[in-house]
Symmetry: C2
Subunit: 496 residues, 2 copies
């Protein structure tokens, strides 16, 4: 048996272990009774450790070395070896002591964060958060970087992305979005979307969202949608992708949450079936993944063409909407409002929330900012970029779970997703022509087909930066996003 074959066999075993933890995690968030929590935590811990030990064993390194000599450059096998090598290096560079310390601190920090957020007591969380940032600094040193300490952390989530990429991206965004948001607030024709808040029947919402995601192309024979407190997409096979959504008093919550997760799901379903259970299947990076969820949620799902098609059936389900026409509905679902909470932010202000986090992470990592002064810095940036006053830390710097989990360097991938969605879409439109006409007729197949051919079917074969170049002929940039948003929102808000 060749080293490559042995390596593939080991990765198959790891894939099965990851499938096990993924399905346990899915079940925990969808169907598990509360009495199952304790054993579930133990089972997940044991299986994760088993997978980690199997993967990081010296023998994996030996198989990788051996396999390298057996592969053709540019082949699928070469991509497999490249992907496994990257993950192996990432997991071996950080000493297991530090991994253990981070894991223990995460449990403690999560408890501490939950308590701090509930009691609006940042000071009680600050020491733990400082330790978490210190661990991130050490991780970055072990991983190594050339220009900026942030590069090492961001690379874990978005291969090859750097702080310089982020700065470039946010500079363009700041220059354009802050002024657009200001213009909307000061001169825009106001949007009243109160009718979207109500006591919407859950079964009708379920039926309607399932119809939407099925019709845009999420394959219900190779996936399903369930309910969970926080929507997510997971999966353990190209043939078995699980979405979740939630039903709230804001009608858009289920609709756009479902479209968002279905975007992630269709990306996963688009990997070639013959790559199933190999390191080539699935989405290539967090940023590219988010670009697809955002494409289907925002570019398709929040377009006027989409609601020309679907508003009649939505109105027949929910009579409260009967008095509203497509133009009114379109304006309501695209309401722009600078606000405090990132996860509830509209498409325009969203990246400004991310910008705040990116700048703060950089400053704390480089010790320009002391953790104790984080709330003040946070509040000042919200005032400057979004024009809002943060009334307390619970709705301010304590709102996100990420830092308590040690996910420092993660946030910019959300904005990358937003940018990439429009950058890919510009190419798609160049190839397909009048996408609004397709959407209005419910002809999603050409759109999905283009995305499959150019992005989904490539799985993890190419690094994300290479994929973006292949598809769009240029590196990631903010231009397409800025152009599209200005056009869309100046029209919606009747601005010149």
């Amino acid at each position: 048996m060749s080293k490559l074959a042995q390596l593939k066999s080991r990765m198959e075993q790891l894939n099965a272990l990851h499938a096990a933890t993924a399905i346990m995690d899915w079940d925990q968030q969808t169907y598990m009774p509360k009495g199952g929590a304790s054993a579930r935590a133990q089972h997940l811990g044991i299986l994760s450790q088993l997978a980690h030990e199997t993967f990081t064993d010296d023998s994996t390194g030996e198989l990788l070395e051996g396999a390298k000599a057996e592969i053709e450059p540019g082949s699928n096998d070469a991509a497999i070896v490249r992907n496994v090598k990257r993950d192996f290096d990432l997991s071996r560079k950080i000493p297991s002591d530090l991994v253990g310390e981070k894991s223990r601190l995460s449990s403690e920090a999560h408890e501490s964060w939950v308590h701090a957020r509930a009691t609006n007591d940042f000071a009680s969380f600050a020491p733990t958060l400082e330790r978490m940032f210190e661990i991130a600094r050490q991780e970055a040193e072990y991983l190594g970087y050339t220009d900026h300490i942030y590069d090492a952390l961001l690379d874990m989530y978005e291969e090859g992305a750097t702080a310089a990429d982020c700065t470039r991206m946010f500079d363009v965004l700041k220059a354009n979005t802050v002024s657009l948001v200001k213009d909307i607030a000061e001169n825009g024709k106001p949007v009243d979307d109160r009718v979207l808040y109500g006591d919407w029947e859950v079964e009708k919402q379920r039926r309607f969202t399932e119809k939407l995601i099925r019709e845009i192309g999420f394959d219900m024979d190779r996936g399903r949608q369930d309910t969970a407190p926080h929507p997510f997409c997971t999966g353990w096979s190209v043939g078995d992708i699980r979405l979740t959504t939630r039903f709230k008093d804001y009608l858009g919550s289920a609709i756009f949450g479902s479209l968002h997760e279905a975007g992630h799901g269709m990306y996963e379903q688009g990997s070639p079936m013959e790559w199933d259970r190999t390191p080539l299947a699935g989405g290539v990076s967090l940023g590219v993944h988010e670009s697809q969820s955002r494409t289907w949620e925002n570019i398709v799902g929040r377009s006027k063409a989409f609601w020309k098609r679907y508003l009649p059936s939505l109105r027949s389900e929910f009579l409260a909407l009967q008095a509203y026409d497509v133009d009114q509905f379109y304006r309501m679902i695209n309401k722009v409002e600078p606000s405090l909470i990132r996860v509830e932010a509209d498409e325009v202000t969203y990246n400004l929330h991310v910008l705040v986090r990116f700048e703060i992470e950089c400053d704390v990592l480089t010790k320009k900012l002391d953790v104790r002064d984080l709330p003040a810095a946070w509040n000042a940036k919200y005032k400057e970029y979004l024009g809002v006053d943060v009334p307390n830390d619970s709705q301010g710097c304590l709102q996100d779970v990420h830092w308590s989990m040690g996910s420092i360097g993660y946030f910019p991938t959300y904005s990358m997703g937003n940018l990439l969605s429009y950058q890919f879409w510009a190419c798609l439109r160049r190839d397909l022509g009048d996408t609004d006409a397709l959407i209005e007729k419910g002809e999603f197949a050409p759109i999905l087909g283009w995305l499959r051919e150019n992005i989904y079917s490539k799985g993890k074969k190419y690094p994300p930066k290479e994929l973006v170049m292949q598809v769009t002929g240029k590196p990631m940039g903010a231009e397409d996003y800025v152009t599209a948003l200005n056009a869309k929102y100046r029209e919606i808000y009747h601005l010149s």
Copy 2:
């Protein structure tokens, strides 16, 4: 670290792997989209093999030897070592070649069986079935036995049970049940239960069955009920037991199916929480497990007292039943009718179906009966014991999946369960007095409490035969069952 501690740690890891395969199996039968089947089979295969290799490794034997020297006789640790040793010996005595051969043949045999049943073509299945019986003979030789080849196979499913136990049991059953069935058919007042067949609303059935199982004592905080094509009970923690039921045109299907699985589930939920994830938690054998599902399904669920309590709410859900009183309903749900299909059989004729299978298994194993002649033997026995003519093999000897899976020696545990349910119940009634009064008032807690104290809380600490002696003061016998059934059914059918 002591050998015992190392052994326990290994068993924790195996418990996590078994939890993974159990949840994958549960998902496969409840929620999995069809596109997930291929990867699921692969994942299950890989994880099962990993668990098997880990468990049967020489080092497990060494840990067992070492642990034996460290334990106090009679302690929980001694029971853990005993249980692990038994499983270890069972899995090591059979050479891996034979295990592999059986596994391959099972896949093939299942396909062949499905095809033979669909086309009523026993001859096409016969060669595969003969090979499966030959593998069973070899397994029995490797496992070893003193009196009868059947003993070795039956012991895998019911520790310590023998063919002689079965013969004793079936002799009493034959002597009493065959004549009772005959008497009912010839002299009983006929029962018309056609009203129980209809187009019953699924949501109402779901709500009603959930109410029933919750009220008898299945803890919904530590379990749940879902829908599956074939009802089953599974679980991976004392705090997380999953039941399934199904909704058919026969109203009793969901009701008694749910009560049956809830009986299994309450047994599992009754293990001490501190034994969770150890080899002491759960039901001790198939027979004792089945005794508990049958207790709640038949002794409680098919009693008149139970329906004095629940018929009013059932009638208010399903208006077609409004014209029927408790006496009529009680007779309908206890209708006795010799029939062809085991899984649809009533409480009285059920064991006769099992008897046919037991006798045939013995005869084929000892080569008294050639597999080619199996259908004729089957049909003759159905005529003799049940008085029915078998029109074709699909409704005859091809009806059960067990033999195609190589589960030879399994069937008698169903009858043991029936017998034990009444044997335990006789003791329970001696201690608790008027159980009908308790059931009619919905006071299930004393009943569940007695079963918990005497059976459920003992988990797998004692071998099943020892448990039966502890609880009832005698070995398993058919007397309590025969007495109870004669009393119940002579009254229902107005026989002297």
